[in-house]
């Protein structure tokens, strides 16, 4: 049997793809934004960092587990790194939480609270971009995107549609359909899987609730309801069903 010593505890492992899986198997809750076991490993959020017995810090999602490794997941150094990374994310993130559709279920919000980020020392100096509301179902708000790339990989690797990708670089990087086209002009099938993986409110499902109410009360209309896949996904999402 192969073992890794995690936080002074010996944890057996077999053929786990990466160290993060071993850590999670041991019941340790390591926060992540960009890791999903069914997607390729992207390694961008750096929340999953761990420290080894020589003080080396590395991302556990992209480390091969090796027999005899000694690692720690919650040292003061790591806590500090994670907290600062979250602070940096929040600093460039639209913080209108109260009116955000994801308020209360947002992973970014949840982790910020969990890790005790109660002060952001930087101004949001990022260029504010318009929302893309062109599609009938998917709404993209770039100002809430943390660029974890989960939607990009889901659309490409799982759905095989490949509508979303990155454009520009550095702090100007953003997620967008090719050539900056609006969502309505892409091959998006409206499956809503990008919403399921998005850890923030950057991708939401368009709400037609008010329009429906209006029609329901329109005496001249006979109302027939048909539900799009994205709607089912949105409901499933709320109950944690993918």
């Amino acid at each position: 049997m192969k073992y890794i010593t995690i936080n002074n505890r010996k944890v057996p492992f077999e053929d786990e793809k990466n160290l993060l899986s071993v850590i999670r198997k041991a019941g340790i809750d390591l926060p992540t934004f960009c890791y999903h076991s069914e997607l390729s490993t992207y390694g961008a959020c750096r929340m999953c960092v761990v420290e080894d017995d020589r003080g080396r810090v590395f991302a556990s999602c992209s480390e091969t587990p090796r027999d005899g490794m000694v690692i720690y997941t919650n040292t003061p150094k790591l806590q500090h790194h994670r907290k600062l990374i979250l602070e940096l994310l929040l600093a460039s993130h639209c913080r209108d939480c109260t009116t955000c559709r994801e308020n209360g279920v947002c992973t970014l919000q949840k982790l910020a609270r969990q890790l005790g980020v109660d002060d952001v020392r930087f101004q949001n100096t990022k260029e504010q971009l318009p929302k893309d509301t062109s599609s009938n179902c998917i709404v993209i708000d770039p100002n809430k995107c943390i660029l974890c790339g989960d939607c990009v990989r889901t659309c490409e690797e799982i759905q095989g549609v490949g509508v979303l990708n990155f454009a520009h670089r550095g702090s100007n990087m953003r997620v967008t359909p090719a050539f900056g086209k609006p969502m309505s002009e892409t091959d998006c099938v409206g499956c809503g899987q990008c919403r399921v993986v998005c850890p923030t409110g950057a991708i939401t499902i368009k709400s037609n609730v008010h329009a429906v109410w209006d029609l329901v009360y329109d005496k001249t209309k006979r109302v027939v309801v048909q539900i799009a896949p994205a709607v089912r996904v949105a409901i499933g999402d709320k109950f944690g069903i993918p």
């Binding site: 961008a44 992209s62 790194h81 600062l84 660029l147």
Partner: protein
């Protein structure tokens, strides 16, 4: 060109090409590197060709002690000589004269006096401290160097393969193919302890061994010619000046690791390098030194050029291979490593231009010879781009382990305008600074790493006491911030914040707490970033913060910049004793910040002043100074 289908034929061609060189009555090599071309060396070349075409049989007289052949005169375009400061350069063989700062108008005189009569033109010769140097080799800038990789740069015609062949081009490949097994070649490179010149200093032979060991049989060799460091041009000079040396190195690598195809990744901002490489590859293909069944053996190797759009991050291995594949140039997580799954997911040898250019020498002269140069752990030479406030700027090559003092004061000739040395920035945006106490440090991978600096790709920026170190840090942070790919949070967001803080400090709006915040950010970015760009992005800031903390404090507490570099903190003052009250400054001030009575001393309203300096430039009496 004939097809070379055996080693004998290569030797025969070498012999023929050598004869042409040796028989030539006189060879005129005009530097056609990017720097000299910009200085007009293209026209000089045309003019010399014209002059010689007009009287091809001209008699040359160089004096009795200089032997020369009686074949045709040759005018050649060479690659960069390295002495860019003095360009356009012209070398005249067989005398070995180097003319500096040549212009088209000098050509006729050169032809009439130097070539026809052997008379030297004093104004075109290099002078230092009152001494005039006739021969290129005697100029201190060259004399103190050991030019092995750059041996041919400036001495051969970079656009014709014959010249490369005459200078032993492809001899090492012939030796490898005919006398050595691939394993022996790998072993020899491993033995030589050649370390990658692209910055990391990783052992080349070890990398080759790992690729050779992979079960997958389709393999690639890739050359990293991205050279993204601002101010670095070593790789460009090799690609422009001696492209065949690097191509030969790649072919040897391919033979050693069993690769069938290779890619050279060059930034599109290097059009000349790309053209020379294209020509060199086409020539080598045509005469059978690349392509199928090289020199009659069953080794085949094809080489492609890939132009990059000039992103610094594309110099990182996995971003580079992604870019060649046509994807976004963004580093990926490792494992798998490039040696296991690199280009097109196949085992890949990725080396730097200079690393490949070292390979032929090692194969020809042996690992022991190579280990005899420089220190044991970093053998060989290293090319550096010497720039900044030093008298002789340019491209130099010295044995590893040479001290900074030798480089700056012997080769570089000391500080420009007899200024005072302050620091040297080494390794570009991922490197650090060194000061006077470090002048006797040996330039090699390990010694520098210990000092918190790094050889990087070899940029050396010398700074005198007029340099503001905070501004230097801001400059490099601005570069890295712009060049970050944006993938991982610490680098994307962290460098942005560090830059904002540094911008605040140089604008005179910094606070003491900002220094702690800088350090805090630097630590997290360095420890958690995904790739080398982020991991080293904070180095210029950390090293200046460590060595020049007082300067930072002066900026944030006293709101002063000693060197007057940071405009926002300059105070323009009129010295009442020198001011004649002419009102010229007041008339030139764009914001009317200067007032006074004619013939009385004028004054500047600091609150209104936008620090443009127009007044100072306009005062005929030198009455305005900066505080």
């Amino acid at each position: 060109m004939q097809r070379i289908d055996s080693r004998e034929m290569l030797n025969e061609l070498r012999h023929q090409s050598k004869q042409v060189v040796e028989n030539s009555r006189c060879r005129i090599l005009i530097c056609a590197g990017t720097g000299c071309l910009a200085g007009g060396s293209g026209e000089i070349y045309d003019k010399m060709c014209e002059l010689i075409a007009a009287c091809p049989d001209v008699e040359v007289h160089f004096g009795p002690e200089i032997a020369h052949g009686d074949g045709p005169m040759e005018v050649k375009k060479s690659g960069c000589h390295g002495f860019c400061e003095m360009g356009p350069l012209m070398r005249i063989e067989p005398m070995g004269i180097l003319y500096t700062k040549v212009s088209v108008d000098d050509c006729e005189e050169i032809f009439e006096s130097t070539i026809k009569k052997g008379e030297l033109i004093s104004r075109l010769l290099y002078k230092q401290n009152g001494v005039e140097y006739q021969k290129q080799e005697e100029i201190p800038f060259y004399k103190k160097q050991t030019r092995l990789v750059l041996e041919n740069c400036g001495h051969i015609d970079a656009e014709h393969i014959d010249d490369a062949l005459a200078h032993d081009g492809y001899q090492a490949l012939a030796k490898a193919l005919h006398e050595m097994t691939p394993e022996e070649v790998v072993e020899q490179i491993y033995e030589s302890n050649l370390r990658g010149r692209g910055g990391g200093g990783f052992q080349t032979g070890y990398k080759w061994k790992q690729v050779a060991r992979q079960p997958e049989k389709i393999r690639y060799v890739v050359c990293n010619g991205d050279e993204g460091d601002p101010g670095a041009f070593m790789d460009r000079s090799i690609m422009e000046g001696d492209p065949h040396k690097m191509i030969e190195g790649m072919a040897i690598a391919a033979y050693a690791v069993g690769a069938q195809e290779g890619y050279i990744y060059v930034r599109a901002e290097y059009p000349l390098a790309i053209n020379r490489l294209k020509k060199a590859i086409a020539d080598a293909m045509e005469c059978g030194l690349l392509g199928d069944n090289i020199m009659g053996t069953d080794f085949s190797f094809k080489l492609h050029i890939n132009r990059g759009a000039g992103a610094f991050v594309c110099g990182e291995g996995s971003a580079l291979t992604a870019s060649i594949e046509g994807n976004r140039g963004m580093p990926r997580v490792k494992p798998p490593r490039t040696v296991e799954q690199g280009l097109f997911d196949k085992p890949t040898v990725l080396n730097n231009v200079e690393t490949y250019a070292n390979v032929p020498m090692i194969v020809l002269k042996g690992a022991e010879w190579f280990k005899g140069i420089g220190p044991e752990n970093s053998p060989g030479t290293k090319a550096f781009a010497l720039t900044g406030s030093v008298k002789n700027t340019g491209l130099i090559e010295v044995p590893m382990g040479t001290t900074l003092r030798e480089v700056i004061f012997d080769i570089g000739g000391g500080i420009k305008n007899d200024g005072e040395f302050k620091a040297v920035q080494i390794g570009g945006p991922s490197g650090g600074c060194l000061m006077t106490p470090h002048l006797d440090i040996n330039l090699d991978f390990d010694s520098l790493k210990k000092m918190g600096a790094m050889i990087g790709s070899g940029g050396l920026v010398v700074m005198d006491t007029n340099t503001c170190m905070v501004e230097v840090a801001r400059f490099f942070m601005n570069f890295t911030q712009n060049e970050s790919c944006g993938k991982c949070v610490p680098c994307r967001e962290g460098t942005k914040r560090m830059l904002e803080i540094l911008e605040r400090i140089v604008a005179g709006k910094g606070e003491l707490a900002d220094l702690d915040l800088l350090e805090e950010l630097a630590e997290t970015i360095t420890e958690t970033a995904l790739c080398g760009l982020g991991k080293s992005a904070a180095l210029p800031v950390m090293s200046t913060l460590k060595l020049f903390r007082d300067e930072y404090i002066e900026h944030v507490v006293d709101k002063k910049c000693k060197s007057h570099t940071c405009t926002a903190m300059r105070n323009y003052i009129i010295n009442p004793d020198l001011c004649k009250g002419c009102s010229k400054c007041a008339r030139n001030c764009p914001v009317s910040a200067i007032t006074g009575q004619i013939k009385e001393p004028f004054t500047i309203d600091q609150a209104k002043c936008i620090k443009c300096g127009a007044c100072q430039g306009n005062c005929a009496f030198g009455a305005i100074y900066v505080e």
